[in-house]
Symmetry: D2
Subunit: 340 residues, 4 copies
């Protein structure tokens, strides 16, 4: 079975595992108050060009989104997100569980647009409605597309105009950085807060939340603890990000997964199949005849994404830091064969 199911089917990069082993018996103070965590935070601040940022490394993505967003909002405030956004769809209502509505907006190839933000804002105008307060975007998006720096700047401008916070979910930020869509210093400039996702880019687990807006910083660790996200052996989070930031391993892993994904994309396109989104990153969504999908299923694992019509399925193929080039070749061969 060759896996394109997701980018968290394998554990962590060997360098990370080695560093975790090295730190295993060091003896460290718990709860991320240790030299590894401090060092990782410093590396992240430097990489973002924001020495003033607060960095907190949490275990997982839903946890990070929930903890951050619930900490940033007043009870009646709401999130504006694309209808395809992770917080709208794939977190079991984790934001709502903390009391906040997610306003789902039409997505443009997975992206939230300034127009959609304006429309959501304009539709919620009185105290009988929620008060939009935070714009949520994912980079890369849930369908593999990217926000360019210009697009994020345009969203920032709308946020400034309307008094909204800009929050960026970087679960797959490695892939976005590798694709050249945006840089960490640009995020350090534009976002009120964002996170650098480790789980889907080489770490065993871990998401580094970067808080840039000074108003959002005080007492944040109380929120982490209250939401159940404070890891006792927190230095193991620090260790992983120390490695990811060194020699920019983080972006290098993104380049690996992107390169393989684009090879997959180009090979599939060459066979004449269309795609459900214009992804340039490590998730590809080819639309295949059901009969073809059936032939691939015994040897390749992947998720079903949507049914554009009765006889076709868009499947999701994901590459990771651990994906082997041979796996791409095998898939393309099998696809070519299945089409016959």
């Amino acid at each position: 079975m060759i896996r394109f199911t997701n980018d968290y089917s394998e554990g962590c990069h060997p360098l990370i595992l080695k560093a975790m082993e090295a730190a295993n018996l060091e003896g460290n103070f718990g709860y991320s108050l240790d030299p590894h965590s401090e060092h990782a935070h410093a590396l992240i601040r430097a990489a973002c060009g924001r020495p003033d940022a607060d960095v907190h490394i949490l275990v997982g993505g839903t946890q990070t989104n929930q903890t951050a967003i619930s900490a940033f909002l007043r009870p009646y405030e709401a999130v504006i997100a694309a209808s395809t956004g992770h917080v709208c769809v794939h977190e079991t209502g984790a934001i709502e569980a903390t009391g906040h509505k997610c306003i789902a907006c039409p997505a443009d190839d997975g992206r939230l647009t300034p127009e959609a933000v304006r429309a959501a804002y304009a539709a919620n105008t009185t105290e009988h409605m929620v008060k939009p307060a935070l714009v949520y975007v994912s980079e890369t998006t849930e369908v593999g597309t990217l926000y360019s720096y210009a697009q994020l700047k345009a969203l920032r401008a709308v946020c400034d105009e309307l008094g909204l916070l800009l929050y960026l979910d970087g679960a797959r930020l490695g892939s976005a950085l590798a694709a050249g869509a945006v840089t960490l210093p640009q995020l350090g400039e534009l976002a009120d807060a964002f996170y650098i996702g480790g789980t889907k880019n080489g770490a065993l687990f871990g998401e580094a939340l970067v808080i840039l807006n000074a108003r959002l910083k005080p007492c944040f660790r109380y929120n982490i603890k209250q939401r159940g996200g404070m890891l006792a052996k927190g230095w193991m989070l620090g260790v992983q990000f120390e490695v990811l930031l060194q020699n920019d391993l983080y972006t290098e892993l993104g380049r690996h997964e992107n390169a393989l994904a684009l090879r997959l994309r180009d090979g599939i396109a060459a066979l004449g199949y269309p795609f459900a989104s214009h992804s340039e990153t490590n998730q590809q969504f080819p639309i295949l005849p059901d009969a073809v999908v059936e032939k691939l299923a015994p040897d390749f694992s992947f998720e079903f994404s949507s049914k554009p019509d009765a006889s076709h399925t868009a499947i999701r193929l994901v590459t990771s830091w651990a994906t082997q080039p041979e796996s791409i070749d095998a898939f393309l061969r099998a696809l070519a064969a299945a089409a016959k």
Copy 2:
């Protein structure tokens, strides 16, 4: 100024006021544990043909929806509602504030359809998504349309098939009963819970929640108290519903407001104006040229509902138990004059 702003611009029907005066100094046990409340509950049970129902009279509609729905659901369960539904739009995220997502579905002239329920259910299939558990409908809908008995039965059938609860918001149920769309015994047969709205149909305040599904009944009063909805002088809620249920004053008031609303509708239609919805009840949404709206504004109060195009506005005209026939005539005359 003649008011078509809403159906809660006046206080209560004179018979209700008289009954409240009579009960003012009686001396009653608090918190709705009094003979008036018990009598009102019994009248409602009888009117619904459900001697087994639990009845709780709360003060307001948002409070009733929030208390009931949060009591009925497990933390990860969600509400399915039309995108125009009151819980989706006009309650400041009160459902989300208790931790539950509202899944907004495309509305068909204000109505939720079995197809929309099915689609929402089918789109939420794993533990990474919320679990749809309760279908919310309003009778009359927020745009004045009605669910027929057959339509509600179809929704009930889908709910049974998919294991969902059916909850009906009866803020304007008086208007619906008067329109003959449905009867209280039919609701007693179809819903898991619903409420009979007093505030918008002759009461000073008060919404009578009828719980039919035995699983939803235990300890419900704890929820009322915890959500801040338990009125100390609760017998004043009982007194009001005693009056509304006697001689079916409740439906009679609905007939009054419907009759005036339809006269308004027919008069406006006769002048050639279209409507934003096919309302047969006490809310009418004519689409008028902005210039005409401007001429009416100094003498009539109403809400702006939507902007179908750059030069037209759909306004909302609401009649109530207290609306005078002369007010309808005055509006139609003014509209005819404004159009010239």
Copy 3:
């Protein structure tokens, strides 16, 4: 049956009923955005000597406490209150339902002391514990005792020192004002927010929340709506407080109930019975032999408060604006007879 059960067994003072009748058909904008509400707010601001205060009149006490406290706190912040405090005991966990811990402190005859506040603060020092943020006091307390102006000033000083908010629950503030413990301008000076209770002092329902701290004011109406506390026919709240503030009817009603309560207290004490608290207000807690309580029960209604030992019960006797002097005489006669 003569009722000493509570101070909400009767409806409202005749002057209030009359004013509600007069306003019944006026036609007013809803949701407390009407001239009566504005006038009542202005009268309250004037009475407190705080023209800058924000006033919001809600329907009930638990609702007011829940809405205000949840609006004022960040998610990880907690309330410090006496263990006998209403929020700790008698609101079905309404504060916890909004996510906040109530830290219960030892009560001194129903009062929270600066020492207890300091101790609660000192015991919660890290992000692994909640962060104390708001001190809750009730005036009068739940056992009928009073905070003097000096005692409230001492609590204010501790709050200032430790960075805590001071919130005062005035469900029975009428009785406290009448007893001369404190004045409205003194509360206007000392509290961050407090409420003037109507339900237990002559109103049909209604509690006027006064927000003094500017940081707590923005967007407060969103919270009212979201928690289900926004009354459609809100002018009826305004009307009631217009009457209560005129000629200081509010304090006059407090004087009536206090005078009768002290007559009750003195008569009981003269018969040799002790009390569970040193109440100078409208709740009295005599400790009586169980045999005596049994003899009184058929003719007088009251609540059982505690069992100091196996053969005695502390009962709660409450007087209200509607209590008749004859009822006091009847009780004292019956008690004297029962003791024989």
Copy 4:
């Protein structure tokens, strides 16, 4: 610096690290739906003698308590716990953050007693109060003491009588099993749910929740996801518990830490110092003169637990699976020297 700060200053046992390395690149389905997790669940079910149990392994203790308790309760239901209980004190109000009150009871050397449960139940009797629904105990307790099987049986009997759930926090269960206080099959017999703590007993992270009561099982994974506790690379949780359960490594590690702790206790006692609790497990709380504490501080790390008087401090000394016997000897030597 020799660390007695806690039992999570080191990473994981070498056998666990080895197993994690071995599983690192296997390729597994995510979210604990993998063979390692299934195997670990099966081993735990077998160890508890409950083939019907549902097992879910979460990352941390606060997360486990919060997820489980909020899943098990209705909104108005409350937890009964010792005032020293972890959920009452050291989880930043995580239970309250999900809407539930924790009723803090007097602790008997860290233990909750049947009498305290009864008293808490008896004090909350109406819908104006929370409804006690779940008894929370920790084994070992927060002060190192133990519940015997007989004591847990007595609590179970009270729970059965009063209709309460019994939930056991096993953050330090390894130490309790090693001390012979209770066995896993006994917990399988007595509790409605409990967790086997990995973080504090040799795992890198991970707490295995065992749900025994069938009513509490459905849809539990929704709660894990919604509270942010579903680990993407969940097989790494399974791997760790596979190792801990094999050859009963879990209890063996507990024996190691207990043996060293008792050696510490006996040595300190031999020097004449008293203890703040009668701990037989891996946390010891000697009461030392402040001057002695000061002399120890440069070479040994530990937490300050309480100040029994102005010149003494109870410190907390914790041993772990990684503590070396030489560290005990060094501490006792230093203490003997400091006392001179």
